[in-house]
Subunit: 289 residues, 4 copies
Amino acid sequence: MSSDNNTTDTTLVALLHGHDQPGLVAKTSGWIYENGGNILHADQHRDMQAEIFFQRIEWTATAKGLASDGSLFRRFAESLGMNVHVADASHRTRVAIFVSKFDHCFHDLVLRWKSGDYPCDIIAVVSNHRDLEPAAKGYGLPYYHIPVTAGAKAAAESAQLDLMAKLGVELVIMARYMQVLSADFLGKAAFPVINIHHSFLPAFAGGKPYHQAHTRGVKLIGATAHYATPVLDDGPIIQQDVARVTHRHSVGDLIRKGRDLEKIVLAQAVRWHLDHRVLIYGNKTVVFD
Amino acid sequence: MSSDNNTTDTTLVALLHGHDQPGLVAKTSGWIYENGGNILHADQHRDMQAEIFFQRIEWTATAKGLASDGSLFRRFAESLGMNVHVADASHRTRVAIFVSKFDHCFHDLVLRWKSGDYPCDIIAVVSNHRDLEPAAKGYGLPYYHIPVTAGAKAAAESAQLDLMAKLGVELVIMARYMQVLSADFLGKAAFPVINIHHSFLPAFAGGKPYHQAHTRGVKLIGATAHYATPVLDDGPIIQQDVARVTHRHSVGDLIRKGRDLEKIVLAQAVRWHLDHRVLIYGNKTVVFD
Amino acid sequence: MSSDNNTTDTTLVALLHGHDQPGLVAKTSGWIYENGGNILHADQHRDMQAEIFFQRIEWTATAKGLASDGSLFRRFAESLGMNVHVADASHRTRVAIFVSKFDHCFHDLVLRWKSGDYPCDIIAVVSNHRDLEPAAKGYGLPYYHIPVTAGAKAAAESAQLDLMAKLGVELVIMARYMQVLSADFLGKAAFPVINIHHSFLPAFAGGKPYHQAHTRGVKLIGATAHYATPVLDDGPIIQQDVARVTHRHSVGDLIRKGRDLEKIVLAQAVRWHLDHRVLIYGNKTVVFD
Amino acid sequence: MSSDNNTTDTTLVALLHGHDQPGLVAKTSGWIYENGGNILHADQHRDMQAEIFFQRIEWTATAKGLASDGSLFRRFAESLGMNVHVADASHRTRVAIFVSKFDHCFHDLVLRWKSGDYPCDIIAVVSNHRDLEPAAKGYGLPYYHIPVTAGAKAAAESAQLDLMAKLGVELVIMARYMQVLSADFLGKAAFPVINIHHSFLPAFAGGKPYHQAHTRGVKLIGATAHYATPVLDDGPIIQQDVARVTHRHSVGDLIRKGRDLEKIVLAQAVRWHLDHRVLIYGNKTVVFD
């Protein structure tokens, strides 16, 4: 959240939205410029019907300028009636990955991270099974086995929340984690949760979407990355994609082809989130890509 | 359905399916070859789980050979336990297009047909409104205005069915016809009906799908061409496609972008149907493209 | 480009680019706001490597405010060292469509225009053949037959330029016009020219691109809309798209499938141009979509 | 190549092509059926213009039947004038992966293989650098470091060929191996070589294709998997795909986005090759997918 009192440059990103009014672009960019900041990117969107203004603005400032202090900009934007979130672009988000037995999204995320694609620290792999423990350790990642047994889900979620709090986790990624997180868990979570669902939502919500798709005879299968909310598979959608299938494809083929979709869709959603490009508004997202 | 007793070549297409058994490819291709036919294309598919065999086979035969008589091949295939449909490739399907006020799919289909893309005759444009009458007449197409008024839908459908029977219609295309055809109409219809739905089914079935998509915040919109069945928007899917949208797109933009999807998806489905490439099986299709 | 002295609102669009410098977003948006304009959209892009700043900014202003006068904003932006183009959003661009014998792009553009999709006036259809004259007249469009014969191309181009000047044409669209416009023509033209090339440029420039694609055995075919420049098929690319093909597709199939690509790619490029979303920079475009 | 004298079933796949003639489908399927085989899949294609017949046919046979002997079918097909390749579907192709320093395609292929997706044995990782040695050893794969130094390329290639021969390699995959294999190497190689080129060929052949693409200002970038031939980037194309880019993407972004394309396109090409779905004909491929 910015602004140590040193002499290096700071790069800040603000996401803001609120009731539209004349002059907002001029006011926010003017404040930053007058206070010693240099705007790198500024993207605006207006929902004409709802009269809402959305903005992502990214700037650098020398340590001495007021524009290098995120809390000052936040206060300014709030004085304009905006909801605002400011982040220091150099901060590395603390991420926990939740997995079960499927490993494709897990390997994909970790390899992207290891190649330097993601400005985050993966600080924990959490699983209800032991299957991916060797793979996680091979990558040098701490592995936390928290079984989820019938009748003891609440206890498991409580242990997960304690662990997240202790580790200071700022983002949980469900990389084909095969447990539904309860409304209670999500209500208490101090961090957003990104999930990958293996269908083109809202089609085929719930269990076994590839089987559902095969039964219905669709000609495209999909994957959807979204923020988890108490209503299953109903949270704000971040990214979706599809792949073509034909009658020649069995359910097994759909599952295999779907793995590539799941990897790419989840990877894009995680990137946008880490780059502070996703603004949640109601049950939808504005993605400044 | 073939086989005049003249001396020119005949090209026949058979679509067949039934319980799988060894030797089916050899038997059907052998029968045709032995009876003077030359196979142009033969595509097979096996549903391994359901143990069903599907085949599309196209061949030419001189007028004298037994293979030039579609009814003989049909009888042979039935003796193997197959359901079979045989068509003369030179027959031009008699088509009626149902429209309301939207004209984009209508113009698109007619222009493709006029440019020689479709082996069919468009013999009627049927509408519950008068709006497209000048356009239809401009193309030289007979226009039948059959209003559908509250409380008198049954009478209108009866008039439509009488007209279809009188004209010998073999395919009805609903080119954004904004009335639901009743189960009664579809039960009595002696022809298949292809509909274009402006969403990626099964997502957003029913009315105003672009509004539904905008509300849900999906990142892709779609269109689906399917055979109409008594259950609304639930018939066998022939073709689907999607286009990317963002938060920048209003409902109006989705409608505009969707028009291109609707045109292309419907045009492909119609082409495949006219080329005898679509085999309906249960509530799904096998498309031999 | 704007600013009659009446009392209605004016909506202006400015496209500007120039050497990057701190405060540009603040300065342009500040000037508009202080002079009575309300910014509807403002999109910026920085080419970090070349240190160039690009902006599209759209605003409304009451007739009395200085921000309603495009020439005043232009002068202000020029004082910042920017190249700038300002347009009145309510102005309807005067368009001529050049065609030969293929009619698919022609019909597609005209039908989109008739349905209200394009803020332009199509004031002329120009052709080296008579084939599309009835179609143009059916739409109520003036048709100008200017034959291009061997050895007399210069005279034909001279006649075309005279006609364009007389009609006050502001955009020429080559809708599969099968003549190469000479460097001389393009040098003298006071208007941009958008062309649709039936390949994924720079692959398969020049003649018969679908034949070239078939010979090379590519798995995707493409289409490219670009501004025409004296170097054939080398101008700034506005939009491109591709479609999948297989060994089953003959050259004829590629041509047929390509028609849909050509229509959609050209239609998008034309829309963006008419909405003042395309900024040409060097031999490339910045498309603010 | 099949047919031990035991009692288990054999599954064989034949790829054949040759001058078209009546009855080919009937003859090949008839021979298999009469000799105790059960056809699982049979796909045909006719190049109407060149009058060539292509077929992929897959069948199972009990060990005793003549149809379980691939060499007998081959002789039969040759008697019909066909070029034919027969493979035992249970045979695991012996694969060597060539790499340099980029690791994304390498990890992707190995992880797919470890998850059981590929019917092959990866028996060697060959590199001109040591960078990927730890990763290869982490997967338990033998790593062969064969440096390629200026002036000693021929010696390095000779060592590579010796190694391939000693290991009985049947397929080499260049997973972003950054050396051009010489015509001499390819001429002596007893195995096919699949390469991934990071552009939509034939656009941007040669070095630094993403830089070329950025300079040209294309709106889509691509990747192409092809068989390596003595002419650089000119071999038969197996698979291609593209991704959309805008002016916002730097060369670095193209490289990053391109990695996903490269992985998926190469992975599909390798799968089809291993499943005996790719028939090379002239400088093109017929892919029976």
